[in-house]
């Protein structure tokens, strides 16, 4: 039992959790507004799209790869989907939107997967390249500009309330849309896939030692290929959620999110070298970034400073992690000595 507790504290998650709590308390003391229903609901709703992206990125990092193309990929598939539905005058519900977006996402992800998996190219370079291609395609071929009207079904899905919370003090109320359920479902599915399927364990195995994975009998190339398809699908779902929630489709406003998402995932203890990290850590790290971004206003800090603070949290968080791991390895060495 004691050993188990010790093991937990050797990982990142409890510390990130602690930082989140402390930050919450600080904001509460400063503003009195943190632990209010509507603030929590606001935070959760701000978490939806980054959360989905983080899950997608998490998978790429675990396999020892990386994906910096997901914002462009999500923008392209969400924009194309919205445009198609608008052009056809579609009035039905949101499922078709998700279906089309997922299909486009799978196709785009397959491009990444083909180059990274089958041609064994460096994931960073490939996704940097495809990111440019996706953007260029969207802005050049599709002549993307802002779509201020979106199909009825998507609009409804983005505004209908799953949970509504009202702040008794100032009367502000916040709505948590149904897109939150999508985050929960994707998260649960991903947990299952990574823990209980051979495919999921294969991703961990490849991240740990790709050569051994090959000799053990995994089809490394195909696993990577399928994984990037799934990443494309999840990113596209994120893109549609974003469009639904914003009530408009803007072709470029998701671009540039990749750095904060990757930072959040790494903050949660996911190794850039692959193989190590948990979904819990990934979600906590992402939440911490969201929290810092959103709490600026409550703390009365001008939003222009937001980037500085997010940057600080990332640098401090990652240093703490490094310190933590060097400490555990040292204490372990000592234990071995004493044992001998």
């Amino acid at each position: 039992m004691k050993k188990k507790v010790k093991k937990i504290f050797q990982s990142n998650e409890p510390y990130i959790f602690l930082i989140i709590i402390i930050l919450g308390i600080v904001v509460q003391i400063r503003s009195g507004q943190f632990f209010t229903g509507n603030n929590i609901v606001d935070l959760l709703s701000a978490m939806i799209v980054p959360g989905l992206f983080a899950i997608a990125e998490f998978m790429a990092l675990i396999s020892g790869g990386i994906d910096v193309s997901f914002p462009a990929l999500a923008s392209l598939s969400a924009y194309a989907t919205t445009k198609i539905l608008l052009d056809k005058g579609y009035e039905g519900n949101v499922f078709l939107a998700f279906l089309i977006a997922v299909l486009i996402g799978a196709l785009l992800g397959a491009i990444n997967g083909y180059f990274i998996g089958y041609l064994n190219l460096n994931a960073m370079i490939v996704t940097l390249g495809t990111s440019s291609i996706f953007q260029g395609f969207m802005q050049g071929t599709l002549r993307a500009n802002q779509l201020s009207v979106i199909p009825q079904g998507m609009k409804k899905f983005g505004t209908d309330s799953f949970i509504t919370a009202t702040n008794k003090v100032n009367g502000l109320s916040s709505v948590l849309p149904y897109t939150f359920l999508i985050l929960i479902i994707v998260c649960a599915l991903m947990f299952f896939v990574l823990r209980y399927t051979i495919f999921g364990r294969g991703i961990y195995a490849i991240g740990g030692n790709a050569l051994s994975a090959h000799t053990a009998g995994f089809n490394v190339k195909r696993t990577k290929f399928i994984m990037y398809i799934i990443i494309g699908m999840i990113a596209s779902i994120g893109g549609i959620c974003r469009v639904c929630m914003m009530q408009q489709c803007h072709p470029t406003n998701m671009l540039g999110m990749e750095m904060n998402i990757i930072a959040g995932v790494v903050l949660g203890g996911v190794a850039l070298t692959g193989g190590a990290g948990t979904l819990t850590g990934c979600m906590l790290g992402t939440f911490l970034i969201i929290l810092v971004q959103n709490s600026m206003i409550l703390l009365g800090i001008p939003t222009t400073w937001s980037d500085v603070f997010v940057g600080l949290v990332i640098v401090i968080g990652v240093s703490l992690t490094a310190l933590q791991s060097s400490r555990t390895s040292r204490s372990k060495k000592k234990a071995v000595k004493e044992g001998a």
């Binding site: 994975a213 000799t215 001998a340």
Partner: protein
């Protein structure tokens, strides 16, 4: 004659223009321990890869269990009962012991989902086979090398192995660990499993194997019963040369010590280390892997500065807090893992040689003097007999022994007074080992103070005039190597 388990005859393979195997034969009997030996690059690893289906041979026949093998894949080989334990063990460092053990079986069963109960069951069965005591939930990256090897062996046993091939399994193990590995190998033999043991350490070959085969330059030079083999023959078969190992006798030792330690202590690693070294002397330091010997080496070179105590050079106390201090005081260090610490593998051989003296290779105006550089490189390549056609080739193109020589050259180029070597011949084949020893002896005779840190006792006894034995961070004893036996040192180490 009994039916052989594996019979490879006249196997050939070439990669491009390189004939990796010209014509080799290898016969393994059921349930025997067969040792395959040869210098680096002789084709040992290649034949393993052919037997295990990684490479396809260009010619010759292979029979396993009486059946002729044509084209086989790694999976086919595993299904027939051929298991290879590679030097890197092919484990997943980020996964738990249990999962590492069970993954292959789970994969082979072609299921799509993982049952963690089942994983545990498989893992428990696997470790029970060799009575291996380990925390199944620990991540493999946290295990010691010996434990990782046990995991790899346990995993190999899961698939009803008939032949287990171990590729240089003892390279990274301590003496104690080698002994327990040998016990396990003997136990596997009792169960009727044949072992093909790859090694180039002759004492191991004699200790463990029933029969042997030796390759040289892609050809089989000898095979037979280990009983008929002796040191001289073994070395001759391996290298095609005959050696006269010279016992080191110091000449021209200086009166005063060139290098001294007084009560040097590093918390958690070693304490109160005292010794002195004279010019012309080769001092051996030996001890178990965790005795603190490596930390001591690192402290003397400033990589892990000591907490307290003094280091004296020519009688005056000096401060060494980083490698630059050490180099300034003409102290050099050849690390244990020359590949990761001592060399820039992708850079040219020449640049590796001159890197430590690069400051001196400039013209008056501060420009890099290319002519001087080339002269220096030429000089050291010749002096240390580094076998290369072109010093502009990257260091990766050299064999282990020649790489070690570059590391030496790099230091000698700085006109050292003291040279510290940590495991100078780990992973180096017999021929190169002999050559490196000769170079070290020659250098000592020219007035260099040399410290060899090694647990290769024959090496220490043959090449040092004195030896210190370290145990649990303290000097346990000091011997004149003329008057000590290996067993006395081992008794002190344990």
């Amino acid at each position: 004659m009994s039916q052989s388990l594996l019979k490879a005859e006249h196997v050939k393979i070439s990669f491009g223009n390189v004939h990796a195997l010209r014509d080799v034969s290898l016969e393994i009997l059921p349930g025997e321990i067969h040792c395959l030996a040869g210098e680096n690059g002789c084709g040992k690893s290649t034949i393993i890869k052919i037997i295990s289906g990684v490479y396809q041979r260009d010619g010759g026949t292979i029979e396993f269990d009486g059946k002729k093998l044509e084209k086989i894949s790694p999976i086919d080989a595993i299904n027939m009962g051929i298991q290879v334990i590679y030097q890197d063990f092919a484990l997943f460092p980020n996964l738990t012991v249990a999962e590492n053990l069970a993954l292959n079986t789970e994969l082979a069963s072609r299921k799509k989902t993982v049952s963690w109960k089942n994983v545990r069951k498989i893992a428990e069965e696997a470790v029970a086979k060799i009575n291996f005591d380990v925390d199944l939930d620990e991540k493999v990256e946290k295990l010691s090398v010996a434990q990782k090897q046990m995991v790899a062996i346990s995993r190999a046993l899961m698939s009803n192995a008939r032949l287990i091939i171990m590729d240089e399994p003892t390279t990274a193990l301590t003496k104690k660990e080698v002994n327990s590995l040998f016990k396990i190998i003997l136990k596997l033999k009792e169960q009727g499993i044949a072992i093909l043991f790859i090694s180039h350490k002759l004492n191991e070959v004699f200790e463990i194997s029933d029969r042997f085969t030796i390759f040289r330059n892609g050809e089989m030079v000898a095979t037979g019963s280990t009983k008929d083999l002796d040191d001289k023959k073994f070395t001759y078969y391996m290298t095609g040369r005959e050696f006269n190992d010279q016992i080191f006798v110091p000449e021209n030792m200086s009166e005063k010590p060139v290098f001294e330690l007084k009560n040097l202590t590093l918390e958690g690693a070693f304490e109160a280390i005292n010794f002195s070294l004279r010019r012309g002397e080769i001092l051996g330091i030996t001890g178990l892997l965790d005795s603190g010997r490596t930390e001591l080496a690192l402290s003397m070179f400033g990589l892990k500065p000591a907490d307290s105590g003094e280091i004296l050079k020519e009688g005056t106390p000096i401060k060494i807090t980083n490698p630059r201090d050490a180099i300034e005081h003409k102290i050099g260090y050849v690390p244990e893992d020359r590949l990761s610490e001592g060399l820039f593998l992708t850079q040219s051989i020449g640049d590796n040689i001159i890197i430590s003296e690069i400051d001196k290779l400039k013209k008056k105006n501060g420009q890099f003097d290319l002519k001087k550089r080339d002269e220096e490189i030429k000089r050291w390549v010749a002096e240390l007999e580094i076998k290369t056609k072109n010093p502009d080739n990257p260091a990766t193109t050299l064999s282990g022994g020649n790489q070690q020589r570059i590391v030496l050259a790099k230091w000698l180029a700085c006109n050292l007074d003291v040279l510290i070597l940590n495991g100078p011949t780990v992973g180096v084949d017999i021929g190169s080992k002999h050559d490196i020893h000769m170079v070290l002896q020659k250098l000592a005779k020219q007035g260099l103070g040399v410290i060899i840190i090694s647990d290769d006792l024959p090496e220490v006894i043959q090449n040092c005039n004195r030896v210190l034995v370290i145990k649990n961070g303290k000097i346990r004893s000091e011997y004149d190597t003329q008057k000590v036996s290996e067993q006395m040192i081992i008794d002190d180490m344990m």
